[in-house]
Each structure stands twice: as structure tokens, then as C-alpha cells.
Symmetry: C2
Subunit: 134 residues, 2 copies
């Protein structure tokens, strides 16, 4: 009983939008983005598909910030910076977790680590500038 996935133009558009931005959007952001082009798009559909992408590994959830879940179409391992001022979520490359010894830790604790996410909080470059000039 395998279920075949039917093609859906809207699903493709949602994934495309997610992959095509670096802003780690919320469901509503994607919805607003596509609404002009797909006037009958439903917010529920966006939620359904984003959730689906996370399950199939086509996207990941960055986390819930200020009540909104943020998604990322880039599934390669990298950290994120969340700005406490404007709420922006930015990619941070160049921080490798390789040297932390997660494997050794797993053995010591007897647990099984499948994923590691590093989230930084502070001010994004834009808000740093604004604060300096203020």
C-alpha cells in the first residue's frame, strides 16, 4: 500500500519559495508571498506542505521564535543567528560542530544524537548599525 504523491503546482511553488529565500520564513510569510500569484491559495495548504517537507527531509524547522515557527529550505548543516531586535533569522556558516566530540558523548551518555543545531541570539548587522547611530 504505497501512496503515490500527486503533483501539485502549489506545493512546487511553496517549496520553490522556501528554497529561493534566505530569510527562513514562517508559514504566513510564504503564504503572503504566493498569494498574489495564487489568489485561492489557502494558509492551511502552506502549513500542510511545510510540515510535509520537514518530514521528507526537503526542509527543516529552524525553531519557534516569538511564537512563529521558521523554516529553512537549506538542509545543509549550519548555524543561525536570531536577532532579538527585528526578529530576522540569518544563516551562519563557518561554525563547525565537528570538533565537539558528539560521538564520544553519545557513547558516554548512552544516547543517540541524530541532529545538532546551533542557534545564536543577539543583533543582526543592520540592528547593530542602527544601535550605533542612535
Amino acid at each position: 500500500m504505497e501512496r503515490k504523491e500527486h503533483f501539485s503546482r502549489k506545493r512546487a511553488a511553496i517549496l520553490e519559495t522556501l528554497k529561493g529565500t534566505a530569510c527562513h520564513p514562517t508559514a504566513d510569510w510564504v503564504y503572503q508571498q504566493l498569494k498574489p500569484q495564487y489568489p485561492d491559495l489557502s494558509l492551511g495548504t502552506v502549513y500542510r506542505n511545510l510540515k510535509r517537507f520537514c518530514e521528507t527531509g526537503q526542509a527543516v524547522s529552524v525553531g519557534v521564535f516569538d511564537g512563529f515557527e521558521h523554516f529553512d529550505g537549506d538542509t545543509s548543516p549550519h548555524a543561525h543567528l536570531v536577532c532579538r531586535q527585528c526578529g530576522a533569522v540569518m544563516d551562519v556558516f563557518g561554525l563547525s560542530l565537528e570538533g565537539l566530540g558528539l560521538e564520544r558523548l553519545s557513547h558516554q551518555m548512552g544516547c543517540q544524537v541524530e541532529n545538532a543545531s546551533l542557534t545564536l541570539k543577539g543583533l543582526c548587522p543592520d540592528c547593530v548599525k542602527q544601535e550605533k547611530s542612535a
Copy 2:
């Protein structure tokens, strides 16, 4: 216009409960924990005080997992493991983020990193055992 903080027995109890457990509880968990001793305790009060503790630095938010925000009375820097099976949130000590070069990164990006949190996802020791025996 400074506002003085009045003493509240319930607030003290909430903080004590939070500091006294290693389970990184949700607001409701704290509420259920204290309800027997304080029958007229309100869930709203727990929310209000947990939020306050985070603002005053007496506690931190570990993040939102499965829709529930989890808090931690231990504000020292350490990582967390979230079990995808049972939802448990555990402390993980011994993973230092010192060597990552966050300062250098801040300069390079022009941002201001104030906090770094490392969250691991996988299976906790208990669920690893259960899976093996299954």
C-alpha cells in the same frame, strides 16, 4: 519611577520548583507540581512568573518543542538533548562552544552575538534501551 518587587510565596515556590528539577519543565508541569500544595494556584501566575524569571535572568527558555515552551533554572551555559520519542529534555554538559570562534565571527559578520545555544535531537538513553530491546 522604580517599581519595587513585592515578595510572593507562590513566586518563590515556582522558582524553587524550577531550580529544583532537571527536567526542563513546561509551565503546566510546574503548575501541576505545585497545585497540591497551593490549591488556588493559577496557571496564569505560573506563566507570568516564568516569563519574569527569563527577563530578570533567573531562568532561561530552552525553546519550544512540540508546542510547549521549556524552561531551565540553570542559567550556566550548557547544551540540551531533546528526545524525539518521549520528548524529554536533558542537560548535556561537556560541550564547550569556546573553540568555535564566535567573537571572530561577530567581527566578520558585523553582528553581535549575545548568546549561543546548542540543541541536540535524537534519543535519550531510556528510549535507546527500549528501541534495542524491541
